[in-house]
Structure formats: structure tokens, C-alpha cells
Symmetry: none
Amino acid sequence: MPLARFHKLDADKQHRIIEAAAEEFSANGFEGASLNRIIAAAGISKGAVYYYFEDKADLFVTTADVYTRRAGFDRSVVLGAADADAFWAHMHDLLEEGWRFTCDNPLWVGLGRAFSQIPREMWADGPIGAYITEQLGLLGRILAHGQRLGAVRDDLPVDALVQVAMGLNESFERWMFAQWDDLDAAGQKRMFRIGLENFHRLFLPFPRDLFDAWHPLEDES
Amino acid sequence: MPLARFHKLDADKQHRIIEAAAEEFSANGFEGASLNRIIAAAGISKGAVYYYFEDKADLFVTTADVYTRRAGFDRSVVLGAADADAFWAHMHDLLEEGWRFTCDNPLWVGLGRAFSQIPREMWADGPIGAYITEQLGLLGRILAHGQRLGAVRDDLPVDALVQVAMGLNESFERWMFAQWDDLDAAGQKRMFRIGLENFHRLFLPFPRDLFDAWHPLEDES
Amino acid sequence: MPLARFHKLDADKQHRIIEAAAEEFSANGFEGASLNRIIAAAGISKGAVYYYFEDKADLFVTTADVYTRRAGFDRSVVLGAADADAFWAHMHDLLEEGWRFTCDNPLWVGLGRAFSQIPREMWADGPIGAYITEQLGLLGRILAHGQRLGAVRDDLPVDALVQVAMGLNESFERWMFAQWDDLDAAGQKRMFRIGLENFHRLFLPFPRDLFDAWHPLEDES
Amino acid sequence: MPLARFHKLDADKQHRIIEAAAEEFSANGFEGASLNRIIAAAGISKGAVYYYFEDKADLFVTTADVYTRRAGFDRSVVLGAADADAFWAHMHDLLEEGWRFTCDNPLWVGLGRAFSQIPREMWADGPIGAYITEQLGLLGRILAHGQRLGAVRDDLPVDALVQVAMGLNESFERWMFAQWDDLDAAGQKRMFRIGLENFHRLFLPFPRDLFDAWHPLEDES
DNA sequence: GATGAATGAGCTTTCATTCAT
DNA sequence: GATGAATGAAAGCTCATTCAT
């Protein structure tokens, strides 16, 4: 996470840095991203990066975090759900908000991919380790809460569900984003619906609940 | 694909090169992998790599291909399935063989990840493009065949299914492999069962078929 | 042309870099020149070259440009000549200044040769293209001006004259430089005189003007 | 010059090697030429090059020599000229034959350029030194003979004339070849005429002879 | 508080040449 | 007589990071 100094910068400069970094990391991955290009795009000095951030990883994590918050993935109203129905209703909102964000922010997909590219030895400690622990931890708590409410299958431990959820979301987002511009409003709505159904398919307790949760798309359109 | 010269090498040396490359690509991704480290580990000269392979991408593709064949993912008996039941029976074998391979070959997971990290502009042409076309094409044909048999949902186009299948498999494998050594035989068998069920959940037509396909694990153990 | 940073360097370091580059390019041509040798001779780090210059071509162009200016070939008073006599008087000064420079700066000949060795596909764009366009353009404008004044033959198009002028100048310079140290003052003066006559021979309109322009050397010595 | 073995090869293989080398050296210069590409184009083995030739320089010299002979530049009928008129008549034939060869053999220009690109330290000894000595020596003897006959100016020593002759020829050939395909038969003839005139301009004793030697193009066409 | 000059290790790739067979 | 496997040095270039100012 950035040194405290970073947050004292005027908003515009912060924004320029984050956007330039997002663009570069999204396009080139973590290793492939060039600090030189980022500072050139952001119009800041070389030294500034190391004045505001610990290192490249820290800049990446900060960037990813900004986007995560924008996507709404840091808010965990889901954790307040009182029963299975409320849980999935919240999940629906969370996922839809995320996907909607994805469609407006193509970089988000790339940032996700960049994330999984970080050398495994960095996952354990440093800024990256901390961020990962936090993000996966939140998702884990959400899914655990779902299990407690009987809204989420419990035949797999939480960390397995976390991995699978991330894999499903990333691959679906990637494909969805590639199609996005060719879809009309109805098609886009249908896409969200299918995306949510995929989560139902994978995470509902099985099979009764899954079956019950099924509402053909035609009913809604 | 490697220059013909490579296959004339004595098996041991071929093996050393492929293993060193697999290790490096698996741990650091495509971009992050260092040819220097690979040749050091394989005990060959720098020039040798370029004597046997077109370039870094070619070495990667060759390595990935060796592992793909070992994993049995190049064989497509599934395409011969005559009905939905046969299709899923074959899929079961294919996936189980793949997962079993994963458990013995931890690098396989990393190679898969390295794969999905390759810059998108390389997907189109060169050795990488050819390999990707071949691999995704095979998976696509399998899923399309499944759709034709009514064994696979058809509310999403084949290329979406391909993406999702890869994402699901990779994330599940990653988690499964992390647990593998702590499981007893029964646990491992259960893991495979759950993995297959995940595919059922995501890819079966919905919901009747999915429901029918459900056989609680307890029945078997 | 060098990044702005280069000109902020203290003069001594700039000088060391340019001289080392001139030496290397002059001796080995553009392709044959080794950045490693240049930095070793200049006593700078590898990164520094790329901090100051875009790439090898940029370093070469910058070096050539420094020498071109030193040789006085960037000034085009010739273009202001009002008649044929003035044109050739200016040409005389320009060429003599250039040759005098050559004698003091042996590297200049080599730089010229390096120049004509640059792969033709680089002539079009990049730092090299810009420099070439500028240099050949100037020479072309001078010769075209000469044609307009009736001071230069017009049975060949300007670009042919440019090529031939460069070829003549380079070959004559090369030979002249090799002899230079063995000549006494009178011999050197005679050399310049002959060099200029060669230009008269090749570029004057033919044959009346050429004949008129002839003043035996004996008249002057 | 090639080891004796080379000439024992069947003509076709010799031809393939020479043509591949000419193509490569012409296109990329001496340093820039790649033996790998040459053997690939010629369809011979890597070792063969070193079996038939001393080294890269030897291959180049051999190639250049073949082309030189084809261009007719090795025959020195000029040396047998009995008077100034005969000398220039022979020169006319020699040059025209050379230029005609150039037009049919674009590689010839490139080979000439490649020649001047060879690092200066190679000019002194080895295969290159020998070839250079031979070629420049022949041209020198021709010009010296011309001087003896009073057909060539003698205010410059022979080696200066040699340099200038080469520079003039190369630059004119380069330009002429670039235009060649756009010229009709009359234009091509005119080009040869002008080229020869250039030699008259530069090499005739001055000025009486030059003036006498002048025959306006219009007279002939 | 903020800069940007400077670095050296590292990158992928190409090369001419050697030599055991 | 002829091959082609194998090499190590060198190429141009980019990099994240440091630190004096």
C-alpha cells in the first residue's frame, strides 16, 4: 500500500498516476509493465514513483485496490444478509455491479489477469501478499457466510470456493467483455442473467436448491 | 514447434531441456521466465536453445505440448461419443486422467497459468498462435459435439464455454493440487468426483438434466 | 537527435561520448560499430547511452551532426549566391573549409563512409531518415540553385548530381587525407585547388563554361 | 580466394553458393550478411562453407570476384591500347559493358557497397587484402597506361585517380540503377553516354583534350 | 518535498567458427 | 569428403531501483 505521502497529493495527480498504471499493467501484465512508460503517461518524475510507493509491486497493488473499490468489491453488504434469499439477492447486486463496472472499464479485466501473473514467490509477503490476503479473505468470509446461511454448498472448503469463484468470474468476464459492444440492451441483460446463473450452478447447495432457484430467462424478458 | 533437430537429441537431453523449461515457465509465466535460468538448469549452452527452437515462444509451446500429451488432453475419444451419457462418461475419463496427471505433475498447473498470461497479440500468429488454435479448437469441438448430443447447454456459444471451462479447470486444479498431499485415497477420489460435478453443474443443459445427473457422493463411497 | 538531456551534460562528458562514438563509427561503420566499445572508450555506463539517445542510430546521427556542423556543411551561404561566379566562389569556400576540416579530423572521412553504409531501409524514417533528408536536401537545394544560376550542368537531375557529388567528395577526401601528412604547405594548397577543379569538371555546364573556368595551377603558384 | 576444393564442385552447386552469397552480401553488407541465411538459401551445410572457404571474408571475396569477372572488369584489353583514342575507345567498351552488367545484375551495386563496408583492419591482409590489391592494382595499371598515352590527366598520382574513379563509378551506378526500369531504350543509351562523359570530364588531361572530346548528345541520337 | 541523472544486471537473439564423426 | 551439432561471446536494448541534490 502506498506510503502515506501519496494520499496527500492533489486528486488530479493521484488520478493520473493510477490511470496510467492501470492502463500499463492491464495491457502488459505485472512483469511486462514498464515504470518508464507509466511515468511518461502520467507525466511524473521517475523518482516520484519511489517517493510515493515502495516499489513496482506496491504501485500495482495500489492501482488494483483503487479499481477494486470502484468495482464495489470491497463492500460486503453481503455479509449482513440474514437468510439465503437475501444472500443471493446481495450477491446478485454485487456481481451485477462488478460486471457493469467491467463493461465500462475494460482495464479491469486486464488488471485481473495481471494479478494472476505475479510470480508466486511474491504472493506470500510484501505489499502483494497483504493485498491478496485481504481480497481473498473478504471473498472467503462472504462465501463462509453463505455456507452458514445454507445459501452456498458446503461440500468444498471455503478456500476452494474462493479459487473457483475467481476463476469463473475472470473467465466469464473476459469472454463477456469481448462480446460486449456487439450486444444490444437485451443481450447485455441476458448476459448478466447467465453470469449469475453460473454462480448459482456452481455455488448453490445441490440439487434441490439449485433446481428451485431456476427461473427461465423467458419469464423475465 | 521445435526444429526437427530437437527430436534427434538423445532422450535424456530432451528430457532435461523440457523439464527445466517447464519448471521455469511454470514458476514465472511466459514473460517472466528466463532463458538464462533454463539453460543453467538444463546444463546446455545458450546457443543450443536457438539451435533447437525458433525462439522463446517455440520452447514454451513445445514444453506445453509435451505436457499436454502426457496429460492425455490431445486425445479426443470424446468426439466419438454417440449420446449424452457416453459423452459425459468420456469426459469423466478425460478429466480424471488430466487431474491425476496434475497431481503427479505440479508444473502442469503453472504451465496452464503461463499459457493464459501470454500477451494477447501473440495469440494470433507464430508458434503460439498455432498451438492455441489447436488446443482451443479441440476443446471447442468437444463442447460443440456435446451440444449436438444434448449433453451440453446451448444457451452460451461454444467460445464462451471454452473460456469458462478453462477457467474452471485451472482454478479447481490449482486448489486441488495445493491440497493433494494432505488427502488420503478416499479424499482424493472425492476430489475428482466433485471436480466432475462442477463440470456437470456448469455445462449440463438446465435444470432437468442437471437434476437427473445428480448422484450423491455417499452412494459411491 | 539526442534527447534534450544530452545537452545538459557538462561539455567534457558530451565531448567524450561524441569522440568515442565518432572513433568507433568511423572505424567500423554503422552496423559494425559496437556500443560496448563506445561506452568503454567514453567511460560511461550502458544505460547512459539509452538515457541520452533514442538508440544506436540516434547516437550515430548526433555524432555525424556534430561533425557536420564543425565542418561547416550546415551553413548554406551558397544558396544566397546571385550569379554563377558568386556560386562557385561560395562553393570554393565551402569545400575548402570542409577539406581543411577533414585534414584535422581524420574521423570525418570514416563518418562519411559509415553514413553511406547504412542499410537503405533505414533511410526512410527514424532519426537517420530525418538527418539524411536534411543533409541531402541541403545539398540538393544548393545544386538546384546552381542550376538556376547556370553555374551547374542541367543534363542530369538534381538527385543524380547529389549522389555523384557525395561520391566524388568522399573518394577524394579519403585519398587526400591519406596523403595529407606527407605534403608541404604548397602541396596542400595544390590539393585543394585540384579538388575544386574536380567539382568544376563534373558540375559545370559543358563545355564552354568548363573551358572558361580553367586556370592552370601554374598561374597561381 | 577459395580453397582449391571449391572449384572441383559441380558447377550447379558452385553457382548456388555464389548466388546465395551475392544476394545476401548485396542486401546486407559484409558485416550484416549472415552465413546462416546463405547456407539456407544455397541449400548447403554449415560445415561446407568452412570446407570450401577460409572464412566469411573469403566467401565474400570469391563472390565479388565472380561478379567482377562477369562484369568484364578483369579483362584489361585497355592495357593494350596504342594511343589515346584507342585507350578511350576501350574504356568506353569496358565501362559500357560494366554498366550494362549492372542493369542486368542489381546485386552488383550492392556488392560494391558491401565492399566498402569491410572493416579497415581487414583491408591490409588476408583474402580481402589480396583481392583489393589485385583489383585496385589492375585499375591503377590501366590509368597509368592512360597517363603514358597522354589519355589521362597526370596532375594527380595514379592512386588518387583510382579512388576517384571508384567513387564516381559507384555513385553513378547506384543512381543509374535506381532509375533504370523507368527509362526507355533511348534514355538508357543517353545514361551510358553521360556516364562516359563523366569519366572524360574527370580524367582527360585538361582542358584542350576535354573540350575536343566533347560531342553533344544531340549529334548522336 | 521531489527530482531526474545514472547505473549495471539482465533480457532475447544472432553470430562466425570449430570439430568429432 | 562433408556434415551439422554445439558453442560462447557479443549484439542492441530495457529494466527497476538508487541517491545526490
